[in-house]
Symmetry: D2
Subunit: 362 residues, 4 copies
């Protein structure tokens, strides 16, 4: 595909089409596309509506929440980072309590990772919103959906999210290279008068240009073509069907993990991630050795435990264009790997998953 002129009419048509098709995926009226990684989209969210010295409330739900916290600090934000054990999502009751205590409204934003790829735990955004409202607190709600968008149900406007951060490389099945911000009117208004000094990430210039089908700097045109195709594919399958497919594969995977006698990292059933499941290794066994064996024998790469979970868990992904049979192949690879690696486990995980998929096959 030759690179097209990003000032010409063909690009304009492509851009307007893509912007329109992105809205239902986020459930949002305003969506911005950056040539950047998802991390860049985080930075965009922060610099547009927060200022150095602002306080924000965050929760240690896993590796990516920790990274976001580091970025916020580097940009001069004071982060109230509630520690966590990486086995559960954001606690709405704690959100409400923290905000009630903040009687002078020093906290400007609550920042949450929707789906923690490092743990397989999903935070319940509508409950977080309800908690903020119950506290009668004006804080903005910023949500990272990098690993959940287009895989897990999400409604930016309806759920009252102020900034949704996302990227191209997970549920949209594209290479990395595009970052997204969906933005509420409240956040837009705050950004108009506030935020940090900024140029590349500035929302208002982008929205003004996008409305006309342009961008105020050279866009990653080839990824935009891919994005249009991905959005068409999602629309064709139907977003609800996509969500059901992932949820069903999540349940099948958890049945396999339980049948093997392994523990699921996520402790709250309502927070099980539909896009990946992390399983805890039996005491005294190294997850990385298991992963190496499975890679070597079956050419399959499982997700590693990150930082404080290193060696302690392995992660089974079930996102993207997965189908029932590729999931069965994946689980078979894990079950055979457990056997070869000599990890204590029960057989029958593949069988359990297969029974469930058979019963629920549509």
């Amino acid at each position: 595909m030759p690179t097209i002129d990003h000032r010409g009419p063909e690009f304009r048509k492509l851009a307007l089409d893509v912007f329109a098709k992105l809205k239902p995926v986020f459930g949002a009226e305003h969506v911005i596309v950056y040539p950047s990684s998802g991390t860049g989209a985080w930075e965009a969210a922060i610099v547009n509506c927060l200022e150095p010295g602002d306080r924000v409330l965050m929760f240690e739900t896993g590796h990516f929440a920790t990274l976001w916290q580091t970025m916020a600090k580097r940009l001069g934000i004071e982060v109230d980072f509630v520690p966590g054990d990486w086995r559960r999502g954001v606690d709405p009751a704690l959100v409400e309590q923290k905000l009630r205590e903040d009687t002078d409204h020093a906290i400007k934003a609550v920042m949450v990772v929707h789906n923690e790829t490092s743990t397989g735990v999903t935070s319940r955004i509508p409950l977080v919103r309800k908690a903020i409202d119950a506290a009668g607190h004006p804080a903005l709600l910023l949500v990272d959906t990098i690993s959940s968008l287009a895989s897990v149900p999400y409604e930016h406007d309806e759920w009252g999210v102020d900034v949704t951060v996302s990227g191209s490389q997970k549920g949209l099945m594209l290479p990395p290279g595009l970052g997204f911000n969906a933005i509420s009117n409240k956040a837009l208004k705050i950004a108009e008068q506030g935020g940090m000094r900024r140029s590349y990430w500035d929302w208002h210039e982008m929205l003004a240009a996008n409305a006309k089908g342009f961008t105020h700097y050279t866009p990653a045109t080839n990824l935009l073509y891919g994005l249009r195709e991905a959005l068409d594919m999602l629309q064709e399958e139907g977003m609800d069907n996509v969500f059901k497919r992932h949820a069903r594969h999540g349940e099948a995977t958890r049945r396999a993990v339980r049948a093997w006698g392994l523990e699921i990292l996520c402790e709250v059933p309502e927070e099980y991630s539909p896009v990946l499941t992390a399983a805890i290794m039996p005491e005294g066994h190294d997850a990385d050795e298991l992963r190496a064996i499975i890679l070597d024998r079956f050419d399959m790469s499982l997700g590693a435990g990150l930082t404080k979970l290193a060696g302690k868990v392995f992660r089974i992904g079930h996102l993207g264009s997965f189908n029932d049979l590729s999931l069965m192949g994946t689980l078979a690879g894990v079950e055979m790997g457990l056997g070869i690696a000599g990890i204590p486990h029960n057989k029958g995980g593949v069988d359990a998953a297969m029974r469930y998929l058979e019963e629920t096959a549509g």
Copy 2:
């Protein structure tokens, strides 16, 4: 990939490279590439070394043997077509007996399908050769390897085959469009003075041109590029490893079929095909209904029973670039399909296959 000039030096280099790399795959000194289907390669074998009115000996091992017989008749050959039940390969004892009875050597060729895709049965070519020799008969041995080449061990020269017929679309993992003939010196000599009137399929012009890196008509250049790449991939994996991989997947598949309580169509263990397995449906159940359910629920297309096996068997392929996990996915699809379709069967097929793959992984 732009189409290159087939009279230029770049094509010459490609062609010589491809011709050289084809030899070890056939185990043959002389290999010809036609722009044609595999059926064209059959016709080439016949018109180069047989004449109208010649008698040949063939065996009804399945659908493709039957098609080859039809073609031979249309080209004026008298075919002694030994009937069969599609559950076993060519019987070497019968070959010897038939040839011994042909005391005046009216039979000019024995024509065998190496691997019957319609049945999952492989005929043992070395034993057929031995039978011809034991009978002291000068008949040529013509072998169709369209579905076995580069998947099942094969040695044209060493096994004393006179013409090996093949195509691009199975073990070479290419689109259809190339036909092959590997040729013995004996067959070449017969073709020099005999065979039918021919031009397109004529061996000698082809060999003369090929030796210089040319072809005497426009070749399917883009397929030749693909062929070079496929040959390089086979060489990198190692032919022996390719053969072992298919044989291992065949055994795993048969273990699954047996665990389900279904009968394997092939009755002779020494003749099990390493590239596909046909399973017989229980009396009163239609294989095509099962196949339709599996296609609908799991987006997987199993091979149908052809002509006289229609509705009675389904075929599980394990050729091409298959790995352990895609085989597990395939078998899971069958097992779940059997359940959904209400076919009487035992669970445990996937498990049995998985145990075998686990034990032999490495």
Copy 3:
């Protein structure tokens, strides 16, 4: 693009679509697609409606007519091959005279190459047909359009052609690998009772299968996909526009050749080929040296003089997806090459072509 099952419904849809879209390109009711080179399509034409010992009338218009004659002879046909100087097409008056002399109708066919790639001369098929009719002779008219189809106006049915032979690699802009026969009802009837022993090339089995969207052997599926796309592109541009484009480029090229003071090989203006122009080198200068210089300096490969024209002419192609500016680049390459090679010539060829293209730009 993965290879699809050629017995499934998706292939059926593709095949029926392709067969329907081919008809207007040939201007024919019956068109057959072979997995073969164009040479294979020649053989198909011969074996379906001629028998060994049949006489045919052919004309030495160039290299490809000569090759076709060789093939016919090898298939047992007696060829009345009228010699020629490669500078003009088939002479209709001579056709009429030869056929009038053949009072007992021993001549079964007149075989003509529509566009001779080796010379840049196009034979006028409607005049040849008229000559046959004027002689009141029942001979079939067989035409090779391998290098003219979809580039030069052609009407199989309307012009009374009996068999049109073609291939995928020129005007259809595909890789080589597909051969075509368009067939009149008269030829079909003759083939029913006559022709040579045949299987692969047999028209009736093909037509019967094609009518249902199948082929009676494995087709070159990937080329069929490409063919559908090529046919859609032709339809979108409009066949008449395609023809005009080539004709206009032909005229521009000839103006350049004349301005350089070189002679055009084709001596009959009504027979100028719209797809290529052959220019004669000045006495004492070698065309292959010029071609080598142009390849080396400008990375452009001109067509060589074939057999009896070797070293004496170079050929400038203007077919496929050429536009005005790529033609100007081509002619500039030739003009600069003539200068560098020290070939006596006048400057101004590029200019002359440019004036013409400017005047006629639409």
Copy 4:
């Protein structure tokens, strides 16, 4: 190409390879790759070594210098923006004078666009460096090479540049999506203690991660593959040959423009851009009408005059993988367009360019 795991060994190998091959292209020891547009790379340069309130010296050489100035202001920088007529590069004498006047060294950086795509003028970076040194001034030298890198000779370290800004979409022949910073040790040291609050664009984290073959956020992996290929292609052709090719095409283009009797926008021969040439329209004629005609008739898109040159110039690009014949096609399109549009001009531009290319063909 499937997206690879950016935490795995395969990515590590790719990244280290790319980083190593980028160094000679910039002539720099430290090069950073961002998932961003070129504009993002500008922002990176500013936020790493300048602070709000800092003064910088810039020159209005064209559209992109103006944009860079706007960005700097938005980030809080005070810009001393020397007005210009868009027909010449940065005046080294003026640089020296301005810096000499800045006796208290308030100016922290001189920011220059190497090649102005909007004008076809190249600023002479070594002379700018000399001017800074002559003034004995410590200002950093920041250079935008977005449209010149890998097309025009450039030596970051040798020329004493402090930050070189670039992007993937011009001389590297890739889609947009990667931004680059090459960095001097002096700039690195300043960034260590200074610069603005930043996270995404921070040099030190990037360099630390890159040194190990990682990036501290998800990289645009697929563009990195393309980048490696582009760097290999440049290396194979040889950077000097690439530079010569562009310079030669620039000279040929200017000869055509002069032969047409049009004025070249760039007034300083030493500053002619080797990658594009802007030609001034005769008074009373609209460049955009000419461009529309050329696009319509010849499907060729010329560059428009931007902002203050709108309608007054058209731009002929000669960068990327252009060869002699595509340049001839381009110039022919312009010459024919001038005729069709009725713009007063002399014929002979194509001829003049052709003579030059012929004489200098190697």
